[in-house]
Structures are given as structure tokens and as C-alpha cells.
């Protein structure tokens, strides 16, 4: 579609729509500096709730757990998912269609079904619920998304560069390390970034696969929200939003460097 000056009505609508998207989050951040505990109306500026947050042992433990799960699951799902993307984009093999359809499952089944399936599975093999089960589950839902992103990147990849490297005497390992991987690196990084944020964000699957002591940040936020609407939750949310902005910004910079 070409650019054609949108009508006044449409432009006004767009302004309203963006306000609708952003206003709740902006209000959330503003009220994290509110000195009134009940958080009903604005009373005065304070950083008290941020201090409170850093003394909250539950929040600190949950943060640690979340980061461990996110890092480990991102690393493993990125490696496994990238290999699958290479396989599907480059090769034909028996079981190709089945493998491809399995990768769509997380897109078309409700999360709650995947959550209870994993709960049933871990219960049946008597696996203690905890950080390990959360991480194993996160890897499972992350692999398909990594594969999807990396595959999209491989789409325009020119195979003749690899053949040239082979012709010049490089073996497949060197070719992969020096030619293939650097070329698809932006896609791999984008996939890893997606996996990291999905893992950071996940509530439903974590909820079913978490055990005592393995509370993650989304679970912690949920119980805080359920319990009371206090500025401490706002402060936690504001820091979370800030972190996401930093990670997204880094992703943008990385991608710009690559291209």
C-alpha cells in the first residue's frame, strides 16, 4: 500500500489508539512515585517504594529464579532451535512434514493445556517440581519460536558462499563456524532475544510447573496484585518496563551493527 495522507479522522483515531495503548503504562509508572500507600490519589513524590522493593527478600529470590530460568532456557533453546531451522531450510529428509507440524503446536494450542500436560508428565515420572522443571518446560515452548525466527533469516541465504569455502578446502565444521554462523547470527540473536523475553514473561506454564521455593517474578507479581494494590507493585512494574526497554534497545543496536 502506498502512502497517502490519512484523513483527519483516521489520524485522530490513531492518536486515541496510541493513547489507549500507552496511558495505562504511563500511569502505572507515575504512581510508583506516589507517597500514599493506598495508591488512590496522588499525594507526593517519593522513592520509598523502590527502597522497599530492594529489601523484599521474596522479590529478590524471584528475580534470581527468573534470570536463571531465562538464561538457561534461552541458551539451550537457541542452540537446538537453530539446528532445526538449518535442517528445515536446507535439507529434505524422512519425517520432514511431521517435524514441521510439531513446531506449530505451541502456536495453536492454548497455554493452559500445555501447562497441565507438563504438570501431568512430571507428576507421572515423579520429577520434583522446581527450577529444573520450569526450565525444561520453557525450552520446550521456546524452541519453535527460535526456529521460526532463524528460518526466516535463512530464507535469503546464498548457499554458494558455503560451497566456495568448501571448494577452497575448508571442512564443514570450519565452513559452519566461519561462514554460515556469522551470516545467520542476526537471526540467531533475534531468536535468542525472543526466547529470553518469552521466558521472562511466562506466567501460565511456569505456574503449573513451579514447586515450592521456585517462584519466579511473574508468579510473585501475580500474588502481590491479588493481595493488594500498593505502590510497591508499581515500582516493580516500572523497573521491569525499564529493563525491557534496555534489552529491546540493545537488540536494536545489535541488529543495526550487523546490517
Amino acid at each position: 500500500m502506498s502512502e497517502k495522507k490519512p484523513s483527519l479522522g483516521l489520524r485522530l483515531y490513531a492518536i486515541l489508539a496510541y493513547a489507549y495503548i500507552y496511558l495505562p503504562i504511563i500511569l502505572l509508572v507515575i504512581f510508583s512515585f506516589n507517597s500514599q500507600k493506598l495508591n488512590v490519589r496522588w499525594e507526593g513524590f517519593t522513592l520509598h517504594w523502590y527502597g522497599e522493593l530492594f529489601r523484599d527478600q521474596d522479590v529478590l529470590l524471584a528475580t534470581r529464579n527468573t534470570l536463571i530460568v531465562a538464561f538457561v532456557s534461552t541458551l539451550l533453546s537457541t542452540i537446538i532451535g537453530t539446528l532445526a531451522a538449518l535442517a528445515l531450510q536446507r535439507y529434505r529428509f524422512p519425517g520432514y512434514t511431521i517435524s514441521e507440524s510439531i513446531l506449530y503446536i505451541p502456536v495453536i494450542i492454548p497455554e493452559v493445556v500445555m501447562g497441565i500436560s507438563l504438570l501431568v508428565f512430571f507428576a507421572m515420572i515423579n520429577f520434583r517440581l522446581g527450577l529444573t522443571t520450569i526450565t525444561l518446560s520453557h525450552i520446550a515452548f521456546n524452541i519453535p519460536f527460535v526456529t521460526l525466527v532463524v528460518r526466516a533469516r535463512l530464507h535469503g541465504f546464498d548457499k554458494s558462499i558455503e560451497e566456495a569455502a568448501m571448494d577452497l578446502g575448508a571442512n564443514w565444521l570450519i565452513t559452519f563456524w566461519r561462514v554460515t554462523l556469522p551470516t545467520i547470527m542476526p537471526g540467531v540473536l533475534a531468536g535468542a532475544l525472543l526466547a529470553f523475553t518469552l521466558s521472562l514473561d511466562d506466567y501460565v506454564i511456569t505456574y503449573f510447573t513451579a514447586g515450592p521455593g521456585s517462584t519466579t517474578l511473574p508468579l510473585r507479581v501475580f500474588s502481590m496484585v491479588r493481595f493488594a494494590v500498593t505502590p510497591e507493585v508499581n515500582a516493580l512494574s516500572a523497573l521491569w518496563i525499564l529493563t525491557v526497554f534496555i534489552v529491546l534497545g540493545m537488540g536494536q543496536i545489535l541488529q543495526r551493527k550487523q546490517t
Binding site: M1, A17, L27, A84, Y91, V107, I108, F121, D201, W240
Partner: protein, 303 residues
């Protein structure tokens, strides 16, 4: 004799490695096998277990008794559960429709904007989506609750005298769900709108069609694949959602997702919870199939 054995070992020893080096089919299999095995163990096998579980019986202490029967499925026909099911379909359907109504003009606006601004405008839709979804629900709780920002604002303006009770109603659940899933609708809609060739629109205009007719006869039909993809991406998670009703819906709003969660973690009737999950899965698959059959689409789902 000695000779043949030697030949055999000589031939066999390098066989796997050399096959990996030369045969592309084995290379492909080697690359896909970690994913295949992992998803078989941690996605397919667990779902098969749930299917089996749905056919078993709950024991007296919330344990599972290995006696095959269909009673968990017949129990679902109870009016109580049918009402929950109907309410879930209604909520998910309305969420999808509202997302189309709100998202379509927005996607259209972005597709019509100057080329160099489009990715920024799209990025701005996605940014809130990257923040945690419970935080987004919390923002709306802050706004909607009885002593919340909306009521305070309206009372101070003098529009209302008594605060509105929006939070803990089905309306609140709808507000929360639409806010959560809107980006899923805008993205595929934008993709299909953006692809429309200008020549097609000009041709229609040259032939004398007024702008509204161009939209109705050219633009809209060409954006249907995006709308279908968006609807699937909104409908499926909305169907299984239990967090939004938990936090915003109050005790009265129970969706299938809540029912399943309660059977597994509160009532501890796993077989019945499993059969409810199967029903949810069948419903979402049926809706997806019905929808995709109506129009060919593919890449829109992958954005």
C-alpha cells in the same frame, strides 16, 4: 575368512561419520533430531498422557484410579459446565470482534503512513506487549477499581456521583483481554494491508469507484487473510485464558481455563480436568480449521 572380517570392519567403522559428511539426508536428520526428540518428550508425550488421563477415574483421595471409562466426558454435558463453555466462547468471540474493530483502523493507518515511519509505528504497538502481561492487567486494575483512577477522575469532573462498578465484572475481563491481545490482531492485519498493490487501488478508482467502494471491494477483501490470522492468534489464547478472569473478573466469572486450573490444583480431580482440557483443545482446533478453510493463509500467522 580373516580377510572378509577385516573388510567388514574396515567398511563399517567410518560409515556413520562418512555418511554424515556425504549424505545430505543424514545431515538433515542429525540437525532436526534434537528438536524432534525434545518436543516428542516434553510436548507430545505429555499431551498423550492427558488424553489417557481423561479416560481414567478419580480415586477417593484425589488420586487416579486406572479404570477406563467415559464418565469424565459425560459429566461435561452438565448445564453448569455447558454454561461455562458457552460463556468462554462468548468472551473469546467478543474479544476477537472488538480487537478487529479497534485494530483494523489502526493497522490501516500504519499501512498508509509514510514508508519510513511504518516500522516505528509498528514497533510502538509492540513495546507494551513486551512488558509482562500481569503488569498490564495490574495497570487496568488500578484504573478500573471502585476507588481507582477512572472513578476519581469522573467524580472530580462531576460526570458521575457514585463510582462505577466495572472491576470484577465480565466487562472488566473483556477490557483486559482486548488490551492484552490487540497487537496479535494489528500485526497480521498490517502485513496483509501493506502488501496490497497500489495499482489495484488506482485501477478501481480510475474505473470510477468512490473511495468507500474501493475500500469495500478491493482493500477489505484483500485484508481478509490477515484478519483471519489475527483472529486465530487472539481467539486461541482468549479461549484458554484464566489469569485475566482471576484478577479482573471476580468470583462469578469462570471460563474454561479457570475450570481446568481448578480441577487440577484445587478440586484435584485430574481426570475430569484432563477431559475439560481435551474439550478446550478440540474446540480451538475446530475453530482454527473452520477459519483457515475459509481462506488460504500462511505467512500472516508467522509474523
Amino acid at each position: 575368512m580373516q580377510d572378509t572380517v577385516n573388510q567388514k570392519t574396515k567398511y563399517r567403522a567410518p560409515s556413520i561419520l562418512s555418511r554424515l559428511r556425504e549424505d545430505p539426508q543424514s545431515q538433515g536428520l542429525a540437525l532436526i533430531s534434537p528438536t524432534f526428540l525434545y518436543l516428542m518428550i516434553f510436548m507430545i508425550l505429555p499431551m498423550v498422557l492427558v488424553v489417557i488421563l481423561s479416560l481414567l477415574t478419580r480415586g477417593p483421595y484425589g488420586n487416579v484410579v486406572y479404570r477406563l471409562n467415559l464418565s469424565n466426558y459425560t459429566r461435561l454435558i452438565d448445564p453448569l459446565y455447558l454454561r461455562i463453555l458457552w460463556f468462554s466462547l462468548w468472551t473469546a468471540g467478543l474479544t476477537t470482534i472488538l480487537s478487529v474493530l479497534i485494530g483494523y483502523p489502526l493497522a490501516y493507518y500504519i499501512a498508509r503512513s509514510p514508508r519510513n515511519q511504518r516500522s516505528l509505528l509498528l514497533f510502538l504497538i509492540l513495546v507494551p506487549f513486551w512488558t509482562n502481561f500481569i503488569i498490564r492487567i495490574y495497570a487496568w486494575i488500578m484504573i478500573l477499581r471502585t476507588e481507582g483512577l477512572l472513578n476519581t477522575f469522573l467524580i472530580n469532573l462531576g460526570v458521575i456521583k457514585v463510582p462505577l462498578d466495572i472491576l470484577y465484572t465480565p466487562t472488566a475481563v473483556l477490557i483486559g483481554m482486548v488490551y492484552e491481545f490487540l497487537p496479535f490482531m494489528v500485526l497480521p492485519l498490517y502485513t496483509s494491508l501493506e502488501k496490497i498493490e497500489n495499482a489495484q487501488l488506482e485501477a478501481a478508482a480510475d474505473l470510477g469507484a468512490p473511495p468507500w467502494k474501493v475500500f469495500l471491494r478491493v482493500t477489505f477483501p484483500l485484508s481478509v487473510p490477515g484478519m483471519i490470522a489475527g483472529s486465530i492468534l487472539v481467539f486461541i489464547p482468549a479461549m484458554g485464558m484464566f489469569v485475566v478472569p482471576d484478577l479482573m473478573g471476580g468470583a462469578k466469572t469462570i471460563l474454561v481455563g479457570n475450570l481446568i486450573r481448578n480441577q487440577f490444583l484445587v478440586a484435584r480431580d485430574w481426570p475430569f480436568g484432563a477431559s475439560a482440557s481435551m474439550l478446550l483443545l478440540l474446540l480451538t482446533l475446530a475453530v482454527t480449521l473452520l477459519y483457515t478453510r475459509k481462506a488460504g493463509f500462511g505467512e500472516e500467522l508467522l509474523v
